[in-house]
Structure formats: structure tokens, C-alpha cells
């Protein structure tokens, strides 16, 4: 399998601050990779490097291209929606479609019109972006992106500031309208719970370093959450959990590479949520 994105020893410094520190990873074709990290962890810097918006040290290859040096070629096969990459407020919906159609070789006007017809933007083709609600702007942006036959879609906090209904709809549309085996998505968000069921892979980043890089399938094998109490909790603690918290008087412990047979004796086992695993990993890394 070929890597769509391949990073080897990638670093990025802003003056003395090291935003991304010697990071290596691969993203393979047809995957949905979630990049999760606290504020200031280096997520956005890493995405910017992938998008060729910033230079970096080390070897970074996206679709076999050097993203910073070969931006124009890259942009024909890569799309991105970022909370900061907002649509210009003065432009009319129809003008926006005209412009993308005339500048993007892989854009299908027909497909974009079809997708827009299903949204509230359909009746607002002469409206300017500033006259649309934030939800409608996101629908518009996603419709345009989904109509571009690109191999990699990068989403940086795409649903920031949207209400829950639009957020759910956004990811549902993303899967139905955009995603297929030929396409790859790299997404970052704070609302991990909302995307963990669509991810195939996950990467945690903290203080510029990758602290977890795994597929969702192996996540369930590698990590387990134990719900226990009393003396069993003391025994479980000796097995070396990476985190422990209290829930309604019971103990919830998270184990890495668990001895399932032994833990099953001590209480209920669950697959941990990405959010809990993330908190455990970040706390563990900084402890």
C-alpha cells in the first residue's frame, strides 16, 4: 500500500519555539485519519506543512510531491476546509461556483449544483456569503469541496462554531458525498466524540510530538478500560493502568497492552473512548 502522506523526521521551529518536533508518520490511501491534540500541540502547524503553507525541516511528501515547493500541483489534488480558511464574505454563491469552475481542473460544476440543491443554500444563489448563516456557509464550502475530485481532503476544525445539528449533518454528508476508497481524509477537531465513529486511524499529538499513532481497529485491542471497585481496584492498580479516575464511587482504569484474562476477573471491560484515551495519554506524557 502506498502512503499518501509520508513524514520522516519533520520539525518546525518558530524562533526558539519548537512547534513540531521530529515527527514521523504515514497516512495511507482510503483512510480517515483523525489528528487529535490540545491547543498549541502543533496540529495546525503540521497541517500547514502538509498543505504547503509553511516550510519545515525533514522529509515530508504528500501525493509524492514536496508540498511547499510544488504547491500548485498539490492543490489540484488536495482540498482543505479550515476554520480559518473562510470563504470571502463579499462573493455571491453563483460567483464562487463560477470562479472555482474556471480555476480548478478537477471541479465538477454539475456535482456541486446537485449537492447544493439538497441544502438551504439552493434558493440563495444570488446571496453574498455574508448574508448566509454560518451553517449555510459550511454547507456551501463542503459542497464545493466534495465536487472537487481530489485525493486528499484536509479538515482543520471544520465545524467550529456550528450547532450540533449542522455538525452531525456535516460529517454525515462528508461520508456520503465525499468519501470513497480512492479518497483520504485528514481531520482535526476538538469534538472527538463526534468523529471517532467515522475514523479509521487516529494520531495524538502533544507538545509537537506524536504520542499515539494507531488504527481504530487495533485501538480496541491495545487499550481497555476496566470498571472496578474496592479490593479488586487495588489489585488492578498493581497491573499498571496508565490512568485512573472515579465514576460514581467506582474506579475506571485504562490499560495499555492489557492482560485481558486477568483483568476480566477484576471487573467490567470496555473499549475506551478516544476522548478518555486522549486525556490519559496526554497526562501520561506530561507526567
Amino acid at each position: 500500500m502506498t502512503s499518501l502522506v509520508s513524514a520522516r523526521g519533520v520539525s518546525k521551529h518558530y524562533g526558539k519555539v519548537c512547534a513540531v518536533d521530529n515527527v514521523s508518520f504515514d497516512i495511507e490511501n482510503g483512510r480517515i485519519m483523525g489528528l487529535i491534540g490540545p491547543n498549541g500541540a502543533g496540529k495546525t502547524t503540521l497541517l500547514k506543512a502538509v498543505l504547503g503553507l509553511t516550510d519545515c525541516d525533514g522529509d515530508l511528501s504528500v501525493l509524492g510531491l514536496n508540498p511547499f515547493r510544488q504547491r500548485k500541483e498539490l492543490m489540484q489534488n488536495i482540498c482543505f476546509i479550515a476554520d480559518v480558511a473562510v470563504l470571502p464574505r463579499w462573493i455571491r454563491v453563483s460567483q464562487l461556483l463560477d470562479f472555482v469552475e474556471s480555476t480548478h481542473p478537477n471541479f465538477s460544476r454539475e456535482k456541486a449544483e446537485g449537492l447544493l440543491a439538497k441544502t438551504k443554500v439552493a434558493s440563495r444563489r444570488n446571496s453574498r456569503v455574508r448574508e448566509l448563516s454560518k451553517g449555510m456557509v459550511t454547507q456551501l464550502h463542503l459542497s464545493i469541496i466534495a465536487a472537487i475530485d481530489a485525493r486528499l481532503l484536509v479538515l482543520d476544525e471544520p465545524t467550529l462554531g456550528l450547532d450540533i445539528i449542522f455538525r452531525k449533518e456535516f460529517y454525515a454528508n462528508l461520508l456520503s458525498d465525499y468519501f470513497d476508497e480512492e479518497r483520504t481524509i485528514l481531520v482535526t477537531t476538538h469534538q472527538v466524540e463526534e468523529i471517532e465513529n467515522i475514523l479509521t486511524d487516529i494520531m495524538f499529538i502533544n507538545e509537537g510530538r506524536i504520542i499515539l499513532d494507531t488504527s481504530m481497529d487495533s485501538l480496541g485491542e491495545d487499550y481497555v478500560e476496566l470498571l472496578t471497585a474496592g479490593e479488586k481496584a487495588d489489585e488492578a492498580r498493581r497491573a499498571g493502568p496508565i490512568s485512573e479516575r472515579d465514576v460514581f464511587g467506582k474506579k475506571v482504569m485504562l490499560f495499555e497492552k492489557p492482560d485481558r484474562a486477568r483483568l476480566e476477573q477484576l471487573g467490567e471491560l470496555h473499549t475506551p473512548s478516544v476522548a478518555d484515551l486522549f486525556v490519559a495519554k496526554v497526562k501520561g506524557a506530561s507526567a
Binding site: I91, D98, T103
Partner: protein, 304 residues
């Protein structure tokens, strides 16, 4: 180059002042000239057709000269507005996209930074002047129609007195050449404004003009010279486009009386001399350097 038309169309969508300004001035100039005729008719019954007939204007050539001067006067209003419009357009063109944060969207499309900056440069140097020339032509036509109505209402022969007295195409060709040449001649400033627009974090107008004021002061303090000021602020008057303009000769009564010559603005314009003038090309090069710097800033600056 394939994207240039789409990019320039985008500029016109975004900066509606490109066509609204010339239209507004066309309307104002036409209204003023209409009001002028109404006023003249109302207060001074003596004037009547005298303005256009032979009683106080010697002959066809002099009438022609008078109309040409009127046209020239209105054209200067448009040129003055164009200068202001171009300044604000350039200063906004690479600043607004950063201010409203749409720059990352534009950069997510397969359009290079060079293509984008070049489209803004082409818009400033060619598209804005062309809209202005179109407005000048429309204004002339509207004013000729108004004048025709006035002359006919007074019982005059408009076909002869008005339409026979203007060298329309000569006037229009001159307007086109002067407007485009002025934009090319002032292109170093256009380049500088584009660069400031790409570079500054705030207040592009201030950032663009502050050096133009401070540098001459420093130069005067240290060298007691005014080279920078005369090169920048004097440039507008030094455009090497016109043959020696002799206004006395332009209105030479003897020449006009005998109708020897047709009044021609174009005959005063020397396009070849303009294109061969080193100072034109030095300006174009300076403009190119600033535009290149603007491309570099848009391409390599990390906005975060």
C-alpha cells in the same frame, strides 16, 4: 495565463468601485453640464446660440477647439478620480483577503501566488483605465446629446454646430492613450501600493504614504537635495507622452480663422517617444520589482 480572465473578473466582482466610480462621475458631469445649460438659458437670453454659432466664436475650428477643451476638462476629472481609485484598489487588493481571512481559501485553489498578484497588477494598470475610458466616451456622448437638444430647442442646426464640430474619434483615441500611458507611467507607485498591501499588518494607506513623506525629509536633512520628492511627486508632470504643448498655438486665432487645421489632440501625443523613453521602462522595472516582492510575501509569509 489561463486563469487571468477568471482572476480579473474576480477583482471586478470584489471591487465594485472599479465601475461604480466612473459611472458616478459620468452621471455627475452630465448633470452639471445639463444644469449649466438650463441656467445659461434661464438667466442670459443673450447667450442663446451664440455659444455655438459664429457671432462670438470665430469659426468651425474654434468651436471645435472649444468643445475639445470642454471634453478635455471632463476627462481630467475622470483621470483624477482614476488616480484615487487606483490607489485605494491597490492598497486593498492584497490586504482585504488577509483581513477577512479568505486568503487561505484562495490559496486552497490551484492558482499560484504569482498569478494572483499579476491579475491585480493587470487590473490596476489596464482594467481600471479601460473602465474609465469607457465612462469618458459615454459621458461625451451623453453631453453631445444634451447639447444637441439645447441647440435644437434654440432653432440651431445641431448636426453642423455640434456633431460637425467635434473630432470624436480623435478625442477618444487620445483619452485611451493618455489614460493607459498614465497608468503605465505611474506603475512604480502601483507596484509600491501592491507591495504595501501584501506586506502591512495594518493601516495600508498610512504605511504606503509615510515613507513617501519621511524619506524626502531625511534626504533634505542629510543631503539638502530633493531627488526623491521630485522623482515621486514630480513624476506625474514629467510623463514623456506629449509633444511640446504650445497652448498659444493651440488657440492661435489666425490659424483658426482660416480653418487651416483640424484640432487634433492625437497630434500632440507621441506614443513612439513614450515607448522609447528610458524613464518609462525604469518605472516598469521598479513596478516589476515591487510586484515580485508582493508575490514573495504572499507566497512565503507564514500568517500565524
Amino acid at each position: 495565463m489561463g486563469h487571468q480572465l477568471a482572476l480579473i473578473r474576480r477583482e471586478i466582482w470584489e471591487h465594485r468601485a472599479i465601475y461604480v466610480t466612473p459611472i458616478a462621475i459620468a452621471v455627475i458631469v452630465s448633470l452639471i453640464s445639463l444644469a449649466g445649460m438650463v441656467t445659461v438659458s434661464a438667466f442670459d437670453k443673450e447667450v442663446h446660440l451664440a455659444l455655438f454659432s459664429a457671432s462670438n466664436i470665430a469659426g468651425d475650428a474654434e468651436r471645435q477647439a472649444a468643445l475639445t477643451v470642454f471634453f478635455l476638462g471632463t476627462s481630467w476629472v475622470f483621470l483624477f478620480a482614476l488616480a484615487i481609485l487606483t490607489t485605494f484598489y491597490c492598497l486593498d487588493s492584497l490586504y482585504a483577503e488577509r483581513k477577512d481571512k479568505s486568503i487561505l481559501f484562495w490559496r486552497s485553489l490551484p492558482v499560484t501566488d504569482a498569478e494572483t498578484v499579476v491579475s491585480k497588477l493587470l487590473t490596476a494598470v489596464f482594467v481600471l483605465p479601460l473602465f474609465t475610458v469607457a465612462a469618458i466616451i459615454v459621458t461625451h456622448l451623453v453631453n453631445l446629446v444634451i447639447t444637441t437638444g439645447w441647440v435644437m430647442a434654440k432653432g440651431g442646426n445641431a448636426a453642423h454646430l455640434v456633431w460637425g464640430s467635434v473630432t470624436l474619434f480623435d478625442n477618444w483615441a487620445a483619452a485611451l492613450v493618455v489614460t493607459l500611458a498614465s497608468a503605465i507611467w505611474m506603475s512604480p507607485l502601483i507596484g509600491w501600493f501592491l507591495f504595501v498591501s501584501a506586506f502591512t499588518k495594518r493601516a495600508p494607506l498610512l504605511m504606503a504614504f509615510m515613507p513617501l513623506i519621511i524619506i524626502p525629509i531625511i534626504e533634505w536633512i542629510f543631503f539638502r537635495t530633493k531627488l526623491f520628492a521630485s522623482a515621486v511627486f514630480g513624476r506625474g508632470e514629467m510623463i514623456p507622452l506629449f509633444r511640446e504643448m504650445d497652448f498659444e498655438r493651440f488657440f492661435d486665432e489666425d490659424r483658426m480663422m482660416v480653418n487651416e487645421e483640424v484640432v487634433s489632440l492625437l497630434s500632440h501625443i507621441d506614443v513612439g517617444g513614450f515607448l522609447l523613453s528610458p524613464s518609462v521602462w525604469v518605472g516598469v522595472i521598479v513596478c516589476g520589482l515591487f510586484a515580485t516582492a508582493a508575490i514573495y510575501v504572499r507566497r512565503y509569509r507564514d500568517e500565524s
